[in-house]
Symmetry: C2
Subunit: 422 residues, 2 copies
């Protein structure tokens, strides 16, 4: 399937089948959807050995191509990762059904009764890179929210994705749901992604999961609305009214919990009046953890560090590197966040509640925190059950996107033959 016409017709068929299946899935009961989820997890359990052995083939091919170790790590499935997939399906099945939820609105001028009903979006396209577990995780969230989905994973994971998809298909079949509710793009031809992004007749939204380059490319090309996540340049601001011991722990945890997550702190902002109290002990802890510190001029007056350059404030390291800037007051901290931040997650450490309130109102990020490390930014930790991604957009969904982010609302309007303008 190398001809672009063939790809085009194949992708249109997948899209149109998904659209048709989505009408049936939108009407499925909670029981039927949970039934499918539980059949899927049983199937993954019973196919565990086969999944592992097929994943091994993907890994071998990837190693032959001398693909980097980070990618190999993401591509690998093992017993613990399969357990996570299975428990993820369980978590999603325990979540309440978002579909059908009714919100009553205020009385209307004419007396007609208006409410809103939560409904699935329809068909969700998911484009992801090497992690094959996304195949099950994303499909489960789409299924539970009543959306058909069109999955396009990384080419290096194609065999693993197919075997997991077989389990998904088996689960749908056992729950008497159309198999087209979960479509997998089986070709690794890159033209398929471009075509997918133009399936606006069939797809309601596209969610890219991957590095910034991929996401920006998809966002630029897509005719379908995109819920996206670009940078996670997260800040912790230590205020003059901070408890210094708390501040130290929060800053350390925000950087070192995990370097590779989007909620990891990349820049620490410290009020000048507490810099000399806080930074020396932090320097020790970061140094013994192997974290490289890059500081502004004022930071360098207090601790030993590499001099930070303008680019440092704009960089999502995703690595054991941290930039530190000493600021004169909260306003300077907020201005820095406005100028260099990515509107992902930013936190203030202070014992002054008024300052926290001011920070909440004035920092325009998808998550704004008080006395917490930014690494808490996560749909499960927020009580959303699971997340399909974190959005740094403002339209539709912002921050961790759970089931609700995969739905829309329609107006339900009831009357008794009320006529307008009569």
């Amino acid at each position: 399937m190398t001809q672009s016409k063939e790809i085009n017709s194949y992708m249109n068929q997948l899209g149109s089948e998904a659209k048709e299946a989505s009408l049936i899935l939108a009407q499925a009961s909670l029981e039927q959807k949970n039934d499918a989820l539980s059949c899927i997890s049983e199937q993954i359990e019973s196919d565990r050995d086969e999944i592992l052995s097929i994943n091994k083939k993907d890994l071998d091919l990837a190693k032959q191509k001398s693909i980097g170790s980070a990618l190999i790590d993401r591509l690998e499935l093992n017993d613990s990762r399969i357990n996570s997939m299975i428990s993820g399906l369980q978590v999603v099945s325990e979540l309440p059904d978002p579909v059908g939820e009714i919100t009553d609105l205020d009385p209307t001028p004419s007396g007609i009764e208006v409410s809103k009903m939560r409904v699935p979006l329809g068909v969700v396209g998911i484009i992801y890179e090497s992690r094959p577990n996304v195949t099950a995780d994303a499909a489960a969230l789409c299924l539970k929210s009543g959306n058909a989905c069109l999955l396009r994973g990384g080419s290096e994971a194609i065999l693993s994705n197919k075997i997991i998809w077989n389990c998904l298909q088996e689960g749908l079949k056992k729950a008497s749901l159309p198999k087209e509710c979960i479509q997998l793009v089986e070709t690794t031809d890159r033209a398929a992604v471009k075509t997918l992004l133009h399936l606006d007749d069939y797809l309601d939204v596209v969610i890219p999961r991957g590095g910034k380059g991929l996401v920006q490319l998809i966002s630029d090309e897509s005719k379908v609305p995109v819920i996206k996540h670009l940078d996670g340049i997260c800040h912790v601001y230590i205020d003059e009214a901070a408890d210094i011991k708390k501040a130290e722990n929060i800053a350390f945890n925000a950087k070192t919990y995990r370097y590779g997550i989007c909620g990891a702190m990349e820049t620490l902002l410290v009020h000048s009046s507490v810099a000399s109290l806080l930074l020396p002990s932090l320097e020790d802890r970061f140094s013994s953890e192997g974290v490289e510190v890059r500081g502004c001029q004022k930071t360098l007056q207090v601790i030993n560090a590499i001099e930070a350059k303008e680019d440092d404030w704009l960089t999502e390291y995703l690595a054991p590197i941290l930039s530190i800037k000493v600021v004169e007051d909260m306003s300077e901290a907020i201005e820095h966040i406005q100028k260099y931040g990515s509107q992902h997650t930013d936190s203030i450490v202070t014992e002054d509640k008024n300052k926290a309130e001011y920070f909440f109102k004035n920092v325009d990020s998808s998550s704004v925190m008080h006395n917490l490390p930014t690494c808490w930014a996560d749909g499960f930790e927020y009580g959303l059950g699971a997340e399909v991604g974190i959005s740094t957009d403002k339209i539709h969904a912002r921050g961790p996107v759970g089931l609700e982010g995969l739905t829309s609302q329609k107006f339900i309007v009831k009357g008794n033959s009320n006529l307008r303008g009569v």
Copy 2:
């Protein structure tokens, strides 16, 4: 200003100034925003004569260009339309402030406290055609929701838009808000629209208001997310369990309340068992009102009408023309709506509540109605206070878009030095 480079730099300046002003407006109090709205309406009142005389110039120029009468009608301001603008500002000022509203979320696994705060989107681009009153209406909704806006009206209304914009500027000044909160594109060069649609560094959303052609063009070109409204192919389905007298009144009102609104019924679907009871009397009423009826074969067996062609089911007439189709059951009606509708507004007339419930769940339109004419689809009638448009999208805002549709929510996360993974 005919050079595209100059247009580009001018539009970028407008966008960047609006972005900066939006940060201040986002923090404005309810009192300050309402103060601005009331100053604006006073200014429009005191400039009433000048507005009318300048609008006359736009009208004279338009007539010289032999522009159609429908456009001339939309372009014209008179005392009654200025009164509407002023009362519209009053209505918006009486609405509650959407900004800052807090929604508490469920307890989280770790005990961190998560809530959501409603916040403005930032900067809203509004692209509209000839009606100059949109300048005041749209700016008022943006202002109240804490959003800066960038207004681009039709070239034929440029003088009227500028004089109204002067009033807006005066109101902002009196309320001590930056004048850049409401930017007007003062050039009529078409290149400005294209540039506006690429200002994704500054604009958070674009709302086009106009004919389908304009909206489709904007949607295809825009790098900024678009909240859009395409067709309004609205259906009324008269069920076998309908009260025939109610059904007749609803069908008549749905078509004749106003032919040119997007909520006007374009196709009437009638259950075969009530066709001969309903259609003859409806035929009389439509005929005396000058409404042309186009019917399917089964309709023609009951009343005199022009034969409907396939295209009729796909046409938003926005005129005294109606297509009628007789169906065998509710399923056929819903299938017709799925195939030919535009997911705008569709209504069922029945005394059977279970059927109404089924219709609510299975018709995927932004408004689904029971025992009501579709012409009720309107933000003011829904109790939203006012609307900036009606969205037929599913992402972000669906149906009439009021103040809430111009906002987003961010996560507010509070803790007491809770560390993750420790």
